[in-house]
Subunit: 208 residues, 4 copies
């Protein structure tokens, strides 16, 4: 239960920051810095309890890499998605009456953006937080958080910059992501996580 | 006494940076980066002496978590508030003649903002700087400082982004926070610290 | 092979970020932050496998310092340049139809810029990632990545801010660097790496 | 000699970044990020060789704290000032023909700004890089560099944001600081270093 509480807290603050600073615009144009940083700080606060995934795609990659059980995977994903939904209601209370225009997404650029940066995120997570060779390095949180900073700056204007099904769920509920466009986020996010897990296994034979 | 001197130095530079860069506007629009960073650097400079709270809400959370005495709590809070008042006079000497318009705060969004990010700040402090499991990690200062960066970017335009009764005291004395609005800061800040202490205890049974 | 895969991934994301955020303009004006950060995160993700050079000039400096074989040097450079070319095609798919105006470079300022900051980059790499005296310090990735942030902010408007033949190759293929101007990048980059290797050897006699 | 070479390299890149990005304006408005970061990366590159002062005020504070000889102090200061002068000529070659308007400084705000942030800088250096209690913490470079980031954002528009006699010497030679205004920089910088040394000794009795 304490693992799930930590996953809820971390995912809630991550998705709340995206919803408030980026979608509702309180942090524009510095929202990417807030988003990358909130992921970093919540990783340092919760990593030793839950692993600090805060992202179903990361939980999937960690599961495929063999570091969590199927039961953990499922319960983590449920809690992460609930946290994303909860963030919508709190963000709306923070910025009452603010309208939201849905993203006008182009299919191919969106698919590539979400695939590449979800891969990068899961690749950095697995390499910095689950490999034996990096176990003494304290900078996993900095590396993981700032991967999202990079993606948000680089492709935020193309795909919305989610790289995380909990963030995409929040975007859907708040009205920023159209239902018909959901697959442009969820599909490449899952695929990016799977590819990252196998890339990690290929390059880290000693960690099997 | 050396603990109190370190708390004074750290809280003074934190509140001076908020007063000068944000309230008096010398650092606009980069004030959040200066504020998060000054907290980080003063934590690295003073953490080994005083614990580097620089914030009565953090001191309260650390006390409730069982890491400081009631006497330390009271003396720290007195020194932190004095440092916040001192910062007002120095900031006014740095930017003479600059007028200050008080914040026009909406009650509910302000209460939620200060509650959530004071909770986040105390949660990150307790988890990264007082838990056994993170005792070897050097990045507590980065995590704590950048939590304030996140809050300043995300809800700075909503509540003023204090998350710290010493900062709110400075805002009151400098004329940015109306006396009638004080409870919108102090009440949720205290509440956030209390909730964080109990959330920490729930998720860290081995640290009791 | 796993070393080369890691070099490909890291160099691809570095050059893709430069191509998309800076050249095609999706990250303007925050591209330098994305570029410095992507180098940092890819170093933390891959350093323990390949050394995380992601830059032929760095590979040359590491070779001259005596930390890699000639065969590694050549294979790394080939993979890094291929990754830079691959990034062009992906960046164009991300931002279809975006035109590119070639840089109007002045010879002397460009040569000095690329020389100085390639030197700085190789100097920081050798000192933080290959010296005995810094072997316990986790911050090599932060230091190396942010060296590029400094260069991109400071001389990005002068030389384009490459400091890396793989980045310059990407700039050439995408049409940002004129063929006739190539030597203004490649020559000082090689020279900067050579000077850094000898400066390192002079100041680190115990690391020979 | 290798110590002096490292001091020259670090101070040269620090003062060159200030001269180019801030004074000649290539990095505006992000110059503070480049300046804080270049100090950080040069500290990580050179700290193990020379102590990475790159600043006569820091060298003075380290001397007063009892960590260097008078001979080192003098030779460091000479080299640091020479590096600042050298940076002027290189910066002018990077941005040829760019005019420089001298700062219009107000005495009291300038004196307070330079005093406070030179104190903060020396305080952070002594506490994070010379105290026994922080000897295992890798983040001294991050803390020291970002102290300058804080000062540059907060009081850069008031005093010019030097906090370093080598930077002030560069500002003098490049024409940004009037000769008649020199004492507004040098005097509080020396004073800030002295006060920091005694504040450190008071709060760190075990480090004597």
């Amino acid at each position: 239960m304490k693992k799930l509480l930590v996953e809820f807290i971390g995912t809630f603050f991550l998705t709340l920051t995206v919803a408030t600073a980026a979608v509702l615009g309180t942090g524009t144009p510095y929202a990417p810095f807030a988003i990358g940083s909130v992921l970093m700080v919540m990783i340092y606060a919760g990593g030793h309890v839950s692993g600090a995934h805060y992202n179903p795609a990361v939980s999937l990659a960690v599961y495929l890499r063999g570091r969590s059980s199927l039961q953990d995977l499922i319960s983590y994903i449920v809690v992460q998605l609930l946290a994303g939904v909860a963030a919508v209601f709190v963000a709306k209370a923070l910025v009452p009456g603010q309208g939201v225009d849905p993203l006008a997404l182009k299919s191919t650029p969106t698919l590539i953006s979400e695939l590449l940066f979800t891969f990068a995120l899961a690749w950095v997570v697995l390499s910095t937080a689950t490999a034996k060779a990096t176990s003494g390095n304290s900078n996993y949180g900095l590396a993981i958080g700032f991967t999202v900073l990079v993606g948000a700056i680089t492709v935020g204007s193309i795909s919305g910059g989610a790289f995380n099904p909990a963030v995409s769920t929040m975007l859907l509920v708040i009205g920023k992501l159209r239902i018909g466009d959901c697959w442009l986020h969820f599909l490449p996010q899952v695929l990016g996580a799977v590819v990252a897990a196998y890339a990690f296994k290929t390059t880290h034979p000693e960690d099997r």
